[in-house]
């Protein structure tokens, strides 16, 4: 005997004492509560449930409304064609691997073809901390962003926490890797922005492919702004890492304005597709 048999028996008013029922009630506190004390709760629920639409009552749903719903569902599924639909229907481990592999490929290509002059002389520990810190955050953001709906829900705070981490990690890394006595002291803000803007543009260029890929790999746009921003976090961190292996500047203002700002801007860009979708839906 299982819970469904107890429920059905209560609904039908046919639940009778039996060794099987006793055995089930001894292990199931929920059902024991339902049938306890003359089953008043069970009867109340049974009467209410019959009217409220239990699985059984659902069989009485209007056939024409179900047929119309089926027609709409089939139409929506038939519209799932083309490369974007193919991409988002790949198995989840493959979708995550694609995103992480693209990020690694972009950073690797940047190091190989546009690496900074002192790349080979960088402190291995420092390089490891930067790649590891940003890399772990990037993978965590990708995992949360591409979490499938058939998985149990993630805690609500995880999206916001990862967004905060996406900004905090590169900021801390920039502070760690910047050098004391850097020449920004007394430099006008406009000059600092001017010096940082080429890196900002290059970083966004490095972030763009992963941003586009994560938009394509997502299966729903309804999971909230913080989750949507995670695509920007992953892409922005890719841009940040590209800049780290490309640009040899070490002054703090340049690293914050030219490198870390890439993550913040990419986060904003990550929100755009959802905003467009919402606007279209309202329209």
């Amino acid at each position: 005997m299982d819970c469904a048999v107890v429920r059905d028996g209560l609904l039908a008013g046919s639940l009778e004492q039996s060794p099987e029922l006793e055995a089930h009630l001894s292990t199931c506190r929920g059902c024991a509560l339902l049938v306890a004390g003359g089953a008043e709760l069970g009867r109340a629920l049974a009467g209410a449930a019959a009217a409220a639409g239990t699985p059984m009552a659902a069989e009485g749903a209007r056939p024409e409304s179900l047929a119309e719903l089926e027609r709409r569902a089939v139409c929506a599924i038939r519209a799932e064609r083309g490369p974007l639909a193919w991409l988002r229907s790949r198995p989840t481990p493959l979708r995550i691997t694609l995103a992480v592999a693209l990020a690694a490929g972009l950073v690797g290509a940047c190091a190989l073809f546009a690496g900074r002059e002192d790349l080979g002389r960088l402190d291995a520990l420092e390089l490891g901390v930067v790649l590891g810190g940003a890399g772990v955050t990037l993978v965590a953001a990708s995992l949360r962003l591409l979490r499938p709906l058939h998985a149990p829900p993630a805690a609500g705070w995880t999206g916001a926490a990862l967004c905060a981490m996406g900004l905090a990690v590169p900021t801390v890394l920039a502070l760690i890797t910047s050098r004391a006595g850097a020449p920004e002291d007394g430099q006008p803000v406009a000059a600092m922005l001017g010096a940082a803007s080429p890196c900002l543009a290059l970083g966004l260029l490095g972030a763009a492919p992963l941003l586009a890929l994560t938009v394509a790999l997502r299966r729903t746009r309804a999971d909230g702004g913080t989750v949507a921003a995670l695509g920007g976090v992953a892409a922005g961190l890719t841009g940040y890492l590209c800049l780290h292996v490309h640009c040899g500047a070490t002054d703090r203002a340049h690293l914050l304005l030219g490198h870390v700002a890439v993550v913040a801007l990419a986060m904003g860009l990550g929100l755009l597709p959802d905003a467009v979708t919402r606007r279209r839906a309202r329209g």
Binding site: R29, L34, L41, A48, G60, S65, A85, A151, P152, R219
Partner: protein
């Protein structure tokens, strides 16, 4: 489901006919408008289609599908920024008018009682009582431990018993 993953389009129809009525009833109990309920069911099947290659053969489909439906329902309420509120029935079961009035009143009482429960208890009772899932299946759908599910069910049923104490037994 395995046949559907293999490309059998007719298998989708069978899946839809088997699960859509139950999903629609569940959504109608929990969202305000019948259009919203239908939209959520449609989205559930669209997400099933998108995630079909994630499905592991041999796994039970019903908890898998219910997890999708519950996640979509959560997203729906997050968008609306409000607590789940129960709607009035669009399709009350056919019955004589007096019985229908009594049944509707009873249903309204149950919904009001459910709406008072904390979200966690309401979800467990919805899945255990209305959907007939076992506690291990409820735990799988909600991503909780079995003991946590049992505790929520225990507290939820106790609260419901108090809230519905004066409800008369249903007529046969």
């Amino acid at each position: 489901m395995v046949a559907y993953v293999g490309g059998d389009e007719e298998a989708f129809r069978e899946l839809f006919l088997r699960y859509a009525p139950r999903l629609l009833a569940m959504m109608r109990r929990q969202v305000r408008g019948p259009d919203d309920a239908a939209e959520l069911v449609q989205q559930t099947f669209l997400q099933l289609h998108r995630a079909r290659l994630d499905f592991e053969p041999g796994r039970a489909l019903r908890p898998w599908l219910l997890t999708i439906a519950f996640n979509l329902r959560r997203q729906h309420f997050r968008r609306l920024r409000r607590r789940p509120e129960a709607p009035l029935d669009e399709d009350p079961p056919a019955s004589p008018p007096r019985d229908r009035v009594a049944a509707a009143q009873t249903a309204a009482r149950l919904r009001a009682a459910l709406a008072v429960l904390p979200e966690g208890q309401r979800e467990v009772i919805t899945l255990h009582w209305f959907e007939g899932l076992s506690f291990p299946e409820v735990a799988e759908v909600l991503g909780l431990g079995l003991s946590a599910v049992k505790v929520r069910a225990h507290r939820g049923y106790l609260a419901l018993r108090e809230l519905l104490a004066d409800l008369p037994p249903p007529s046969a």
